[in-house]
């Protein structure tokens, strides 16, 4: 009986799968599952079995029947693409305005979304995306960035050190710049979004972790004019073609000459408001030509090779985009904000 059932199922499945057309399928359905079909016939023989066998065979019978029914149903889909007897073929109208099936949607973090948007602009300009360690050495976080041991930026109060001399949580993603300089040979162009840390308590505008977006290009004949074009492309790509930008002189130890870049205040468009402190301009990033001493440190001749670098905060940009006014909301895992 066992073997018989198994054979019926195998035979049925093979026939169903190789059947062509609805008619044949209907015929097979009647043959196996109909009132006088093969399965009902064999069910009639169960009486002959003792109780123990009956339970066992009964279970197998149900399995076989289910398998055959399944096969019919899935074959049906295979033929017409629509399950037989489903709503589309039932003839009655459906309310097409009812909500669709609520497939769960996964949201990316605002910082991810903004970083991707910016990555897309820069990859269009030939930049690749890099990253680097967050647990850094003083050498890559400071010394190789033209911040010698006595530089005020190295003061203990701003830096989160780990319990081992020389190790710290990077205070800026410029450490990735130092690593790129140390590893790659020009020409190269990289952007690197990443986290950085500072020794501060969390409040609405500061957190011990923050996100930066930096980039650099090193090669021959690279100048501030190229930096200007690159960053202008970013500004119009990200803030819209009507956004204005300007370069002004600014000091950063890692660059010389140094640049501060402002964009036209998107809130007042030069009329002056609280956000831009009535300047009409908002500072969005720092930039400049990579300091010659940093090139020399990696054995590049500053007379032959030049490069530019820039850096900006990503959290603030994401907060503006998403109308979030408390930076902690970015990092507290609260879905309501996402």
């Amino acid at each position: 009986m066992h073997q018989k059932l198994q054979n019926i199922k195998n035979e049925a499945l093979a026939q169903i799968l190789s059947s062509e057309g609805r008619e044949e399928l209907d015929r097979l359905r009647t043959h196996y599952l109909g009132k006088k079909g093969v399965l009902n016939q064999i069910a009639g023989e169960f009486k002959k079995l003792d109780r123990e066998q009956r339970v066992d065979i009964g279970r197998l019978f149900n399995d076989v029947k289910a398998a055959i029914s399944d096969a019919f149903n899935s074959k049906n889909v295979g033929i017409s693409g629509i399950p037989a007897g489903g709503p589309a073929t039932s003839g009655s109208e459906i309310d097409v305005t009812l909500p669709g099936f609520p497939h769960p949607v996964g949201h990316l973090h605002p910082n991810t979304v903004v970083a991707r948007e910016i990555n897309a602009i820069f990859t269009g300009l030939g930049f690749s995306v890099a990253d680097g360690p967050e647990l850094e050495t003083e050498e890559f976080n400071y010394t190789r960035l033209n911040l010698p041991p006595d530089h005020p930026a190295r003061d203990l109060q701003d830096t989160l050190y780990v319990k081992e001399p020389e190790y710290l949580l990077r205070t800026h993603t410029s450490s990735v710049e130092a690593r790129i300089l140390a590893v790659h040979r020009p020409p190269y162009r990289f952007v690197f979004p990443g986290k950085a840390y500072r020794n501060e308590n969390a409040n609405a505008s500061n957190t011990p972790m923050f996100t930066q977006y930096q980039g650099l290009a090193v090669g021959q004949g690279i100048t501030l004019a190229n930096l200007k074009h690159t960053l202008e492309t970013f500004v119009t790509g990200f803030y819209g073609s009507s956004a204005k930008s300007r370069f002004r002189c600014k000091y950063y130890p890692e660059v010389e000459p140094g640049v501060g870049m402002d964009i036209s205040c998107p809130f007042c468009n030069f009329k002056g408001c609280m956000v831009c402190k009535y300047r009409g301009w908002i500072e969005i990033l720092g930039a400049g030509m990579i300091h010659p001493s940093m090139l020399e440190m990696v054995k590049l001749d500053p007379l032959k090779f030049t490069g530019f670098a820039w850096g900006m905060g990503l959290d603030r940009i994401a907060m503006t985009r998403y109308g979030i006014n408390d930076i902690r909301a970015l990092f507290n895992g609260n879905l309501a904000y996402i």
Binding site: N10, L17, S18, D63, A67, P99, F101, P102, H103, P104, G106, H107, L108, H109, T123, L125, G126, S128, V129, D131, E134, L135, P152, D155, Y161, V162, K163, Y167, L169, P187, R189, N199, P208, M209, G221, T223, L224, A225, N226, K228, H229, F247, R248, C249, K250, Y251, P253, E256, P257, G260, R279, E283, H291, P292, T306, L330, F331, G333, L335, I338
Partner: protein, 662 residues
Amino acid sequence: MIVPLDWLAEYVDLPETKDLTDRLTMIGHMLDKIKRIGTDTVIDLELRGNRSDMFGLIGVAREVSAAFDRKLKLPPIFPLPGVDPKSPHLEVNASAGKLVHRYTALRLKVRVGPSPGWLIKKLASWEIPSINNVVDITNFVMIETGQPLHSFDFHRISGGKLILRRGQENEEFNTIQQGLTVRLSPEDLVISDNEQAQALTMIGGRFSRVTENTSEILLESAVYDQANSRHSSHRLKIYTHSSVRHEKLLDPGQVRFALERALYLLKDLADAEILSRVSEYYPHPEKPKNLVFDLSQISGLGGIEIKLEKVTDILNRLEFKIGPHKAGKLNISIPTIRTDIVGSADVVEEVLRIHGYDKIPSVPLSGETPALSTYPSYSIQEKVRDLFSSMGVNEIISFPMLHRESLPQYSLHGYYPRHVELENSIDPQINVLRPTLLPNLVESAVKNLHARQPRVALFEIGKTFFNTGNIYRESLAAGLVISGMDLPPAWNTDPKPMDYFYIKGLIEKLFFGLGLTVIFLPESGHPSLRLAHCAVIMHARTRIGVLGQVEPVLTDNFPVYYADLDLELILSLPTINPNPYRIISKFQPIIEDINFDNVVNYSSLENKISSLSPLIQKIEAVDKYQHRLTLRLTFHSDQIQLSSADIRPIRSKLEKLRNKSD
């Protein structure tokens, strides 16, 4: 830098205020605030860390004079007497020698009295209270020149001589500010007499302060080691107008100018008479720095051609001295007050900023386009983000610092390598760097469950930190947490609670997308995951992750499932094409169901079945009742149309296998 414009106008003719502040902003001194006090306008400029000269109003005037090409009007001075080689009023201990670049002092007879109104008013614009004419003059000259000065009551200096030395451990010092007493250390430079400390680099002492009873003073001005001054100031928590200047790289050349300016005012306002020659410590007198400047550097860095005449004009206005030029090279001498100018790139910035950054053209990058080479460590994060978000999982980002209690709470000791501790976190309790993303993700999930979110599915990608054999290491990890219902309640849904197999399915889909074949083996014990509800994720012999149900005590008894993946390791594994295609066989498959009883380890059964014949193309577990599993086998061949006869030998092997497992 607070700049009262009436005051600034004494040193240079000013343009319209808007033109002035716009131009200063563009050349590197951004306008921070502007306010009106009475009839005077006061502008506040953002300070630049490298421009010590801009900490004095004359320095600001010098910038204005260069930017607008207007003459600088220096205030009147009275020349200092000659230097006394015996230096009767000054001695510098050898141990402190390195901490002092220049210290200059002289003895004066003075008439102490109130300051005139104009002086009181000027100090008031800086919110400095008037003390008396002598003290006010030293403060006034500091604001003018950026160079701090100090005056001691000479009769309060025991032995009539200042001794510069290092502080003693725990030495007590009473500052000029009433009630502010500090304890010194050998790290602090002390200006002392032969009995006690009389001043520090950033503040004077109460004992020798100038009062109405003072008749003679020692007037000094000095340049110290900037780093030591800064450290002292931070250590003692004393921040003064002096300390912010001494932290900068000051020009020792300004010491003399400041003293001469003070001398002029003291003679004018305090009837000062010179009682001594100058006592001075100045072991390495500053010499003007010279530089051979290659003009091509301007276009090389700035991307703009500027004519020689324009370059020399700008540099002259900035008080650089220009020697003869030859073959595109200029011999230039840097004014000593510009301690920020070291190399050619600094000179380029000087020329460009006065010429105008707005004149720099906008030119696309050209030349060889570098090959695209995004780091795999970045690409994999993006891939995982895409895959998880497509499965309805939300991304979070959390702080990597954990409360130190988290480690015992999650029993993370032992399972993960030793953790990394922070040395100086503001909250000493939150000082552990996470060895796993688990605590933050689980806490976020529980928080969301308490907030009655019906379906919680979160992931995070971030660094984890370890200390293995005293080597600090970080690793890239991904964590996934789920809890609640698989679907929201809706007219067409039948929501079911998400469980171990739901999260396992997400992980299987993730690895399919990453192009990695993985297997799941029972895990003997993860400290935060339930025993026998937890598995390791293996690729060949490499453990690349773990997943399971989080111990209910950690989740307020919510059923929460977690998976942890080592992206760093995953990155190193060879992948297969995650998007495999092949032409479907033109022959029909044979599909059969078969039951197995007492299955305790599905994956080993699956392995045994699939090794029976290459014709078994697919094995699906279509039903499970207690330990009985119904498997659906698909037999398929690309070469022939299979018939029952082809399958018969496989069936008998299956039958044997089934009897064994029964």
